[in-house]
Amino acid sequence: MAQITTLASAVRDLVHDGDTVAFEGFTHLIPHAAAHEVIRQGKKDLTLIRMTPDVIYDQMIGMGLAKKAVFSYAGNPGVGLLKRMRDALENGWPRSIETEEHSHAGMANAYEAGAAGLPCAIFRGYRGAGLKAVNPNIRSVVCPFTGEELAAIPANRPDVTIIHAQKANRKGDVLIEGIIGVQKEAVLAAKRSIVTVEEVVDHFDDAHPNLCILPHWTVTAVVVVPGGAHPSYTHGYYARDNAAYLAWNEISGDRDTFLAWMKANVLDVGPDVFAARVEGLRK
């Protein structure tokens, strides 16, 4: 049953050291505010699952929260490489991390299998791909009907999934629209979930009947954080802050610059700063 609460208490109660945590949002609706709260609370030894580790994973890895990253594309979208993640992988700074690398098809299938309560995902994938040789979790099964060999990987079953969405109603039902990514699957695959939203409304009366809705009984905590996806965007609320993604390339390029930025913009502030960050991006 969804509880409407504060970000600090949702993260304190639902994210534990050593947890496997999925932060999802496929370019759109990336839960930046929630990731910053996890960094402020200094959660440790997390296994971070995310299809596209971008700025938030660069920040969490750079602050030493992660022991392992499970992913399928690690880049700053449209800009370049993730410099903090690279520093961890290439130089072990601030700590070395393990990785488990998949393709997007693999990750999407693994979430869907998790949501479906299956132990593994089966699909036509990884043919001729080098990942098979470096990721022991990529295996195969033979179709009992046709004899076709298919890829099999374990289902994604996070302890906690954290997403951002447009809105919730007072019961905690959550509405997501636009590029919906894997958010529904990631929440349904997880034991617990935190959803930050732009606003809480009385009713979804105007919603199209096929919009993506997570019923309140599938969500553990709902938190109102206006602007909580910035510099990602929220369809219908504000645009992507492309300039901030470009700026991250510079900020993340140097350890000291990174740490100073994190102190000023994450550690020393709270989730309330996000509303102002999107003010100039609202439509």
Binding site: S103, A108, L131, L281
Partner: protein, 262 residues
């Protein structure tokens, strides 16, 4: 195919335009970000207005006014016929065999169209950690055919790639069939200097046309393997005024849009 133009153009512009020409009006195309995205949208804005462009964020039939910075920009969703979830995109549309052409870029490429976007150096101890495959490993095997576009360099076009992110023709010949892959694989490579097609038997990329102003020597000097040229090597038709204007306008709209952070 296109009228000769008196306008000047850069090798990059020639690359994008030559790549755009390879797409047809009835194509259903899975678009990679970067150079492929520019080429696909130039095709849509010139000779292929009805082309279906699909980005891995789930947007089907998208018609962006400016080039997206990421595969999931709002512009793609706003202009799409429909937007589906990412699992649906990969299961029904890609794996289901609905997509005719996959258009990919490459960090490292070999003569058989195998692509590396994962690591330079050893996987466990990389010299450079690249972003990884994203959608590409399955795009490379599930789309009907693959087009590749990249700028030529000895670092990029290599004898042996460091990691098989996306399988092309493997060691050449019938290697795809031997792995049970039923799609055609790499069918076209467009660089800033030339257009290449795989040899029908060996599957090695072979230069079929050289862009105006470029030479065989340049093509060889910027490629890490010994280049094979077709028996008859044509000159790539110059960009038309319409193609150039379309590309430049698109780039300019894109520059302005992304500069403003909107």
């Amino acid at each position: 195919m296109t009228a000769t133009s008196d306008l000047g153009f850069t090798p990059d512009e020639m690359m994008t335009i030559a790549a755009a020409r390879a797409l047809s009006n009835d194509d259903v195309c899975f678009v990679g970000i970067g150079a492929p995205s520019a080429a696909c949208n130039v095709a849509r804005l010139t000779h292929a207005p009805d082309i279906t462009l699909i980005y891995e964020s789930g947007t089907i039939g998208t018609a962006p006014e400016v080039l997206p910075l990421s595969i999931g920009d709002g512009e793609l969703c706003d202009t799409a016929l429909t937007t589906v979830s990412v699992p649906e995109m990969f299961r029904y549309w890609l794996q289901g065999g609905r997509i005719k052409t996959g258009f990919l870029g490459a960090a490292q490429l070999d003569r058989f169209g195998n692509i590396n976007t994962t690591v330079i150096g050893d996987y466990a101890h990389p010299k450079v950690r690249l972003p990884g495959g994203g959608g590409a490993p399955e795009i490379a095997t599930s789309c009907g055919r693959i087009f590749i576009t990249m700028k030529q360099s000895k670092r990029g076009m290599v004898e042996t790639i460091d990691f098989y992110t996306s399988f092309g023709h493997g060691e050449g010949g019938d290697h795809r069939q031997r792995l049970g892959i039923t799609t055609a694989g790499p069918a076209l490579l467009v660089t800033d200097l030339a257009v290449w097609k795989p040899d029908p038997v060996t599957k090695e990329f072979t230069v079929v046309s050289i862009h105006p102003g470029a030479t065989r020597e340049e093509v060889q000097e910027t490629c890490g393997w010994t280049v094979r040229f077709a028996d008859t090597v044509e000159e790539t038709p110059r960009p038309s005024a319409l193609e150039l204007t379309t590309l430049r306008d698109l780039k300019e709209r894109t520059r302005i849009a992304h500069q403003g952070g909107k």
